[in-house]
Symmetry: D2
């Protein structure tokens, strides 16, 4: 494969760290620019000791500048906060650089909805129509054609993949869905803050963000498209005392009494050509460790005839499948590479 030069804006967060890790093992992409205002001037290997003796270690961290980026990069990953990415994407696209945006800025098709939930103005509404929602199982063909991919949120990735087969096969009532999602602490970001100190998170469990987590509109947008009508659901998030992993337990009501056998068969059939979605055997339940550092989404299904509920459990790695790995898969598609280039290796699971 030809070498593709990529840039990464926002290297100090966990998504940036994970992208640096994945790019170090990518067969065709080369990290040729890494940006961070706070760390500019350092060698990347000095800042991230794990990178030493690996590709990318010698990149000098720089301050983001669109023309510099255009000179060095075919594609740029934006791993910066919502509200910041929207201003960076335009100049890059104008300069002919492809963009994978890991923030929420281009995920919500409706700018008003975005502004309502994110509580700031969207000043690049003009780009919204070009952005493709970067969930490869749903939109691979579109992603391959676009220059601007809106990389999905971590929670939405697990919820949309979890619900997809149930909605496509019309097994459930779309209006009565409750999602109880739990995430490892990398999801809370890498800013210095007392609530995410080790001693505050360790040996502790709590909910947060109820009842208005910002990933709600993104999930509802995609679920509504799948259901063919507007859906509202209850989405609730919790913080786990561990680094990585999301498990979303999704409570739904069956439209009519069906057996576990037929639900399971529907899920298996729906996903049989998607190597990254693993529908577990009947009776098996997903564990976050089994998807660690990977693109897998493990799905378990439970039918409770007592309450006529279908419970769907979906596990992903919030940083790999839920952020940087998915960004890399999207970049692969946008650059004409196999979607799984650089994403074939298993991470330690214990």
């Amino acid at each position: 494969m030809n070498t593709i030069n990529v840039g990464l804006v926002g290297i100090t967060g966990y998504a940036g760290m994970e992208l640096a890790r994945l790019l170090a093992g990518h067969p065709a992409m080369r990290l040729s620019m890494a940006c961070s205002r706070a760390e500019a001037g350092k060698r990347l290997g000095e800042f991230y000791p794990f990178l030493e003796h690996m590709p990318g270690a010698d990149v000098i961290i720089s301050v983001f500048e669109p023309r510099e980026a255009a000179r060095h990069c075919d594609l740029v990953f934006l791993a910066v906060p919502a509200g910041t990415a929207m201003d960076m994407a335009g100049p890059l696209l104008d300069a002919g650089v492809k963009v994978v945006d890991l923030s929420a800025d281009f995920r919500i098709h409706d700018a008003e909805t975005y502004e309502h939930w994110y509580r700031h103005e969207h000043h690049r509404k003009d780009l919204l129509r070009w952005a493709v929602y970067g969930l490869p199982e749903l939109y691979a063909a579109d992603i391959a054609q676009t220059s601007l991919t809106a990389n999905p949120g971590c929670y939405p990735t697990s919820v949309i993949l979890g619900l997809y087969a149930a909605l496509k096969n019309e097994l459930i009532e779309p209006d009565d869905i409750v999602v109880d999602a739990k995430s490892g602490a990398t999801g809370a970001g890498r800013k210095a803050a007392v609530p995410t100190l080790f001693c505050e998170v360790s040996d502790n469990f709590r909910a947060y963000g109820l009842p208005r987590h910002r990933h709600t509109p993104e999930i509802e947008q995609e679920i509504s498209l799948l259901a063919g009508r507007e859906v509202r659901l209850s989405f609730n998030t919790h913080l786990l005392p561990m680094n990585r992993g999301i498990l979303s337990t999704i409570y739904t009501k069956l439209k009519y009494p069906v057996t576990l056998d037929s639900v399971h068969e529907a899920f298996r059939h729906t996903w049989e050509r998607s190597p990254w979605v693993r529908v577990l055997p009947k009776g098996a339940l997903p564990e976050t460790r089994y998807v660690r550092g990977s693109m897998f989404c493990d799905i378990g299904v439970v039918v409770d005839p007592r309450t006529r509920r279908l419970t769907i459990l979906a596990a992903i790695d919030n940083l790999c499948r839920g952020a940087s790995g998915q960004a890399l898969a999207n970049a692969n598609l946008m650059c004409g590479l196999p979607v799984n280039a650089g994403l074939e290796h298993l991470a330690p699971l214990a």
Copy 2:
């Protein structure tokens, strides 16, 4: 206070360990018998190094024998598996010894329901009518009169306390309740087993027991009594990578649109005379660390007008409030002591 001699059958599990800890600081109870077939003959302080230099350390572990127990004890705690306790309770009661049973054997009033969920016969159905369900906030007066208390399960304690005010104040539909409960690993017991090894639980999160956790009928029994009609709910359990603590996130539907203010006021009012139930300020959510090693049940309420749902979050310590501390509170009541004797101290929270 006069000294009350108590025995503890089943010291090797986490409930037994927690009771030994609490009894070491009790102002009126003295541990005078500790039973374990496997460890018989050892000093308790040798088996549990944390007990050395504390009351109870010099007790010699013995094999349970009802007549010996009657000679040494006014009250016996049974911290043994379901199915075993039922055979121990009878002879103790016959010999005039009070019993607090931490197993499920006397919790379910209906023997058939017990047998259906626990999959073994109940051979002391005659005792069921005498047993009191040992949740002090609901049944303190009855507990004070009985000789046989059925100590509640850990999950049910959190769910019943969590739902109580909502049902009493008729705020919610009793037929549409989903409980997503998460427990620390002490809840899985202290038996040598690969799935509960450190490296299998650490950095991992998973559901288990779906859709038929044995605590379901116990919860449904008490919720049905509160609702005034038979209720079925969806009860789902998960294993947290930490030692202690349960957080139950309880999803309910409001009967009619009410504000957070009025829901919160109803909860506050309902619990204002119960010092162990702390209704958190509006907007605050419970954390398991804040109830560690204590009898507190911290309750947070969330109203989502978008979906007309009331979400109740209830946190307890699964070993203290959910097992041994509650057993001690029940024993206090049964012995005419203040309910909180020996239970007034705060445990480390970080």
Copy 3:
């Protein structure tokens, strides 16, 4: 006992949090003042939800002011950084208020040594001669007489107690001691900082502060006093992925070949009247969990005839014995109370 009013300056750190916890269960002391510039104006129970429904919850956090303190308090605990405490202690002592200083400001008898290691000036050298080093096993009588106790550091507490019997019995070469100490993350404090975020500490182990940890001179001062001559030792610290606990593994050379039996007997004999120091049985090794939340220092001894070394392992809880519990014990002595008042309860160990 009469009520003793105490104040606590610096409530937001882990030592302050631990003191608030312990004071809530103290039979004779009442927290009547809690100071923090950043949190002034809040109810303590609002700031620390674990305190709600407990003594102390209704105290309003205030800004420290010596005359106010003198009006409300018989004794004040200073849980503030080194360099800050020295300026607070004088006015309090002048106003007749007893002081237990948890910082390092009055621990080092020699002001020059202090200034060399702490890299700032000592402006209350005049108070150094009055300060007593607050290790109750060594200096209880002096502590009972003083108005200013310098509460020992966490690491020094474990190392001094660990080495005491070996030096007193002249078993080891004082000039060839290596201490490899490991601490839980509460020891790193409660300031917002990236290196102590959950995801940086979890699943990780590292040394820090080598070769110049500030606790070195404090250890050397006390060890030199015990050895009767100036001692330099190698003191090395590591950060454990857990909240609480210190284990110091102390490598020493035996002066002459002695058996484990005689070393163990010497340790047992030395400590037989000290209920908080538990010399473990031969062959047993201390574990941090067994001292959690307590004043115990568990000591194990290992003799290796192959290398003629005596290895001493000493475990304490860094926040309770290593800071706030010890401060409370010192306050008890200074106020004429039993040294263990409010410190008799066992914390959860699993």
Copy 4:
């Protein structure tokens, strides 16, 4: 590259799990046999859900039988306990199958020493002369020629690599070395046992195996070879509350006063052609997370002029570099592949 068929005996332990993980991503090796008496008959992907949809998932677990192994495999990894491997290796070698033994059975050149420390007889002393100690940095040429590699222990790998430059450059006294080593809990194996349950290891830290850990003779053998004379050292092990990683803090005495600059330069120079050994910048200390899932050994050096000590800190991943990754590197060498084939990817570090 041609496909090399390999077998793995002992798949249920953590070393077997890690090898299965690494082989799934190896460009030239194919797992064609996986043995476990207890799990025989299952698909490997059923037993290890993380392997589903990856190479190796469809292998059926079988009972080890040497002739079957010879039919399917060019090389076999033995991940079985010490004492068991010695009987398996002979028949495999006789049948022309290469062997990498992850147990201790062929590490110690002197059979008497082995029998003294491992407390059982060595019944294949005849093979000892053929076995090569599989530390690639020291013995790559010999490993490439042998059919039987004795894969080093996890702790010895860290200690030998840590001390190598200090001994080669004659910086330290070989007779005064103390090793304080700490390991994650995967090092304790995957057998069901109470002391390695989650709730016993979590939030806890302790030493174990003192003063006679079985890795001592292996370390002394290699250090003696490096020092040119028989060396005894003090080797001490501790259990960390985390899954993976070893940090060995190695305390040595400098032969003569040297600066950190010159020590650091000696280390850098010694290792400059060894890509897996990373000598950190002066002042930097290794962290286990930075080597997770990799073959790196990160080394930090500290000179303390106060005590004239050189402290060396060496961090590895105990399962990858300390067991299965190193076994794979050795297998690569034995099969004529690049030593790092299948070992180039970085694992998640947070």
